[in-house]
Amino acid sequence: MIRDVVCTFCGNACDDIEFEGEYGRNLCPVGEAKFAKKERLKAPMIDGREVSYEEAIERAAEILREAKRPLLFGWSSTVNEAIRLGVILAEKVGGIYDQCSSVCHAPTTLAMIEEGIVGGTLGQAKNRADVVVFWGCNPVEAHPRHPTRYSVMARGFLTRSRADRRVVVVDVRKTPTAYLATDFYMVEPGSDFMIFTALRSIVNGHEEAVPEKVGGLTREELKGLAEILMSAKYGLIFFGLGVTHSRGSERNVEAVIKLVQDLNRKTRFILQPMRGHFNVVGSGEVAAWEAGFEYAIDFSRGYARFSPGEFTAVEALIRGDCDAALIVASDPAAHFPRKAVERLKEIPVIQIDPHPNLTTKVANVVIPTAIVGVEAEGTIYRMDGVPLRVKKIRESEYPSDVEIIGKILEKVV
């Protein structure tokens, strides 16, 4: 029996998984699928031909060296040790380092640059939060054990019963998460900024400034929601891509941060972005301590420059600003807008991943590696930044990401 295994799928990073041989206990359906055996990339390939690891690494290094400005993207589903090497590699080849939050919670980073962010660890939800809000997120489907482990059913030192906790769900449609709500609010798409602003007006004592209806909610409903928030002893807003992917993106996040700043003058309130991958936080923080920024970093001048909208992967691809790509632990071909994927087809692409996916179809060099948290260990950061060491629970023939990126780095310096 292997205890305290950390699941390496979503930002929950549940660390109470137990493995008895192949059988894992406490996994949610998504986690179970993660640990289940499935098709693997069999061998390294160059242009569809099977080759040795040596050859593939050599060719990858060659592509990166020859490119004027390669894009090194992904990183959110591997360990910090590999990410660190990736940042250094991007620096040495004068390329762009970008990671998955670029298409996910980057607006939260941008808002944080403007306003900071009032946060806490997930333990605050479990132990203190008597008002929990899910805004623009659907944890029942995207972070399945979140409600049980952390935010709804979890009990802690000040939260002894269900009655101690009010659950508010705000979304443009009813999702399964709405079933957990004591209060559900359906809002119009693209109206988050206005609603946050209206709530701020009410919280700051200016309800007369709020129109009759904002984003599908009446003034009365808004007052009711504001009342719930202000009545909290310790409130927590979990927010997701409903806020960052909608019109307004980073302005929406700024608005909710400012709302929470206002609430802290009346009570205690924090925010937690629902980070998607189990180490997307690491892919940003490692870059920040190594190069100064969390994403959209260009090294082509020999030092780090940060410019979202310029050095973010999607924009860099669409504008043709990169002439090669290294994709690690990610599948941009599946998750980027089509126009960006078109560009990926045109440039040499190196993929480092355990599984075949859509990026494999556009990759010129494919290097299979071990699955992090199953066949390779290392450090990751949960959605609230709490660091955990993921384990190796199965033997494997595959080399780790750390090993492969390390070897490519050796060849380019």
């Binding site: 799928f9 607006p107 449609r173 019109r247 599946a334 807008p337 355990p354 859509l358």
Partner: protein
């Protein structure tokens, strides 16, 4: 044809098949859109039929799925699971670096065209 707003996002099925993107199971998980039954009536489609979704960014053929009564999106809103099908019609750039994957205006009409298999979805 109706006008809608498209949102995209995660689902459990999509998450469960995310490491098997070239499989039938993944295709089933990401090649549909959820609609309100009233909108389906307007289009004359039923569960399992196909629709053509078109936006400024492109077009894609998807299956239609009607969620249980309670979980239908409101009229005028359709939900497509995140993935290569959705990304043919969403992902508008706004200069911030993060594409707009939700809240994209589109049109929906019934179609006889086939849903492209996932192994070929990048070929268009």
């Amino acid at each position: 044809m109706i006008e809608v707003v498209v949102i995209t996002g995660r689902t459990t099925d999509q998450g469960m098949t995310i490491d098997e993107k070239l499989s039938e199971a993944y295709m089933k998980a990401v090649s549909f859109c959820e609609m309100n039954e009233k909108d389906m009536e307007k289009l004359g489609v039923k569960d399992g039929d196909r629709v053509l979704v078109r936006s400024e960014l492109g077009e894609v053929v998807l299956y239609v799925r009607k969620p249980e009564m309670d979980l239908q999106p409101p009229e005028g809103l359709i939900f497509i699971p995140m993935g290569p099908y959705a990304n043919r019609v969403v992902g508008a750039l706004n200069g911030s670096g993060t594409p707009q994957y939700k809240g994209i205006k589109a049109t929906v009409e019934k179609t006889d065209r086939e849903v492209v298999p996932v192994q070929e979805i990048l070929n268009f």
